[in-house]
């Protein structure tokens, strides 16, 4: 029982971690929007267009930024061709630091570097799915692909834990893409990691970013829609708090169950001691000290709780496995597993439970007077 609960707690934790597995949790994302309040004589409803200058201001002006990248989105669907193979893929034009924001794993070649951006190099890093679709077994690094008719040289292949969709992407240097696909200096999104900055600092950083952008694009600091600054640190902290609460609750319920179990075993042992009064008397007559009688009863008590507990453990793991299989993937309840640590803790708990449960019966047994025990027919 305890195990099912503990496992569920673990599962919930896994679920949350899984939701965040793709992207760095210590990150701030900036999305442009439309103004929603009038400001300095300007009408609401203006689109805010972020540019490279905004990126630079945040990158150099805001303290605590660890890695930063912008994204530029190419309009319309993007045709990608290698020799005779053509297919549509999702193309992202980014800075080299994007690697850290998406937890991208380079499996072949390299990721984009600062020189690619500075020199507007026509290079591309492709996902493993892209590689499979276009190149089959051929090594892709060094080959040329066409993106909407513009030739790019593949310099690397990446994988990503974020799932299938992430692997169907192609990364291009942001500067190259802006120039080749008519983006000028426009960017669609800014994202950054905040390193080890504490939660309050990241909140302050988010506020500062919002303030600076408000000044640059002349909108009210109190306008929630003009630019959205999303601090993932806060979200993660909030959800973590909820999870912790749930885990504590689970533990309390579990301990309650355990306590009921202890009382039950204790009662069983008391009855056993009463029924075995004569045996205990005989043992004493044969030279058993009170101490050895106490040990005998404690041993048996621990045996009972261990066997019952082990059965519970097996049952609990079974239930969790079943739950894991039946649950829809991607839900907040994921991999409700019981690792070795939890199992060991549970075993230790069972032994302690056995000791506690056996304490009163053992004392009762040790107090048995052999004369009376042997008289009782």
């Amino acid at each position: 029982m305890l195990i099912v609960l503990l496992g569920s707690g673990v599962g919930l934790g896994h679920g949350v971690e899984y939701q965040f597995r793709d992207d760095a949790v210590n990150s701030i994302w900036v999305f442009p929007g439309q103004t929603s309040v009038p400001y300095k004589g300007l009408q609401p409803g203006r689109r805010v267009q972020l540019t490279n200058d905004d990126h630079d201001e945040v990158a150099t002006g805001v303290e605590g930024v660890d890695h930063i990248s912008s994204r530029y989105f190419i309009r319309g669907s993007v045709q990608v061709r290698y020799r005779n193979e053509t297919s549509t893929f999702n193309v992202r034009a980014v800075h080299p630091d994007h690697l850290y924001l998406e937890k991208t794993i380079v499996v072949d070649g390299r990721f984009l570097n600062p020189l690619d951006v500075r020199d507007h190099r026509k290079v591309a890093v492709i996902g493993t799915k892209v590689k499979d679709a276009l190149f089959k077994a051929e090594p892709p690094v060094g080959k040329l692909i066409e993106v909407n008719g513009v030739a790019f040289q593949v310099v690397g292949v990446f994988s990503d834990e974020g799932g299938e969709r992430e692997l169907e992407r192609i990364y291009l240097p942001i500067s190259t893409a802006q120039r080749a696909f008519g983006g000028a200096n426009r960017i669609g999104q800014i994202m950054m990691t905040t390193g080890d900055e504490p939660l309050e600092r990241t909140s302050a950083m988010a506020d500062e970013i919002h303030r600076r952008l408000a000044a640059r694009h002349t909108f009210s600091v109190d306008d929630p829609r003009a630019v959205e600054v999303e601090n993932n640190n806060e979200q993660f902290a909030r959800i973590n708090g909820i999870i912790r609460g749930i885990r504590i609750f689970v533990w309390i319920v579990g301990l309650g169950t355990l306590l009921a179990g202890i009382v039950g075993v204790s009662n069983i042992m008391l009855i056993a001691v009463r029924e075995r009064t004569r045996e205990i008397g005989v043992r004493k007559a044969l030279g058993a000290t009170p101490r050895s009688i106490v040990l005998l009863i404690l041993q048996e008590s621990i045996l009972i709780t261990s066997i019952a507990g082990y059965a519970g453990l097996v049952l609990g793991v079974g239930v969790l496995e079943l739950a894991a299989r039946k649950l829809p993937p991607g839900s907040y309840f994921r991999n409700p597993e019981v690792d070795l640590g939890v199992a060991l803790q549970a075993m230790a708990l069972l032994i302690v439970a056995g000791l506690v449960a056996g304490f009163v019966p053992a004392r009762r047994a040790a107090a048995v007077r052999p004369v009376e025990a042997l008289r009782s027919e």
Binding site: L286, G287, T289, P370, L374
Partner: protein
């Protein structure tokens, strides 16, 4: 071996006080084999319990093997019991869920012997009572006489100096009683002091001395058996 001087023992039940043993004096030499006889309620079992350190006494003094037995802690009494005394009971008192061999080995467990040596000794003593082949049987599969022989093996396995048997034949037919008493005689010949409580004349006749109790007093410490 045993020396009792003015032993007093009363049981208090509620407001009622029952004087069971009244100034009992008794000497039993090492190597003796004696029967304790007396009417029901005369205090025979009480006397045996005191001799066996299962119960304490109110007054007088009890020396066992030269040592004064007075105000013993439970643990100390347990240690002395396991070193000096073996018990045989009327109702055998074997532990039902243990085999004959495990029952016999139990006192050695409390002496701290290893499993292998316990097992070997248990088989040796089962052999001596003629039950080697029954080693793996449980008490419920054995006759009363067999169970009592297992109990005797258990009482002897720790090599006690004093064997206390409270009505060992009380639950057995006369033929089996005779066998059991022959076994106890043999034990006595090997140097163990044996004390047997009994109501049966035939049983008492197989000992070398009869102690008569009456109303908590030793009426006769060297009684002659009444003629049948």
């Amino acid at each position: 071996m045993v020396s009792l001087e003015k032993i007093d023992k009363s049981y208090v039940t509620g407001s009622h006080r029952l004087h069971v043993l009244k100034a009992v004096d008794l000497e039993i030499e090492s190597g003796e084999m004696a029967a304790v006889m007396g009417a029901s309620g005369s205090g025979k079992s009480t006397l045996m319990n005191i001799l066996g350190l299962l119960d304490n006494y109110d007054g007088g003094s009890y020396r066992l093997d030269g040592q004064l037995m007075r105000d013993l802690s439970e643990t100390r009494a347990a240690v002395l019991r396991r070193q000096l005394i073996g018990f045989v009971f009327q109702s055998f008192n074997l532990i039902p869920f243990k085999t004959a061999a495990e029952n016999v080995a139990l006192p050695l467990y409390y002496q701290g012997l290893g499993r292998r040596r316990r097992q070997a000794a248990a088989l040796e003593y089962l052999e001596r009572v003629g039950l080697r082949d029954w080693a793996t049987h449980r008490p419920s599969e054995m006759s009363g006489g067999q169970q009592q022989r297992v109990a005797i093996a258990r009482a002897l396995v720790a090599r006690p100096k004093l064997l206390l048997a409270d009505e060992p034949t009380g639950a057995l037919d006369s033929e089996t009683s005779h066998e059991i008493m022959e076994l106890l005689q043999q034990v006595n010949r090997e140097g163990v002091t044996v004390l047997v409580v009994t109501h049966e004349r035939d049983v008492a006749a197989m000992t070398r001395r009869v102690i008569r109790l009456k109303d908590g007093r030793v009426e006769d410490a060297h009684a002659r058996l009444p003629d049948a």
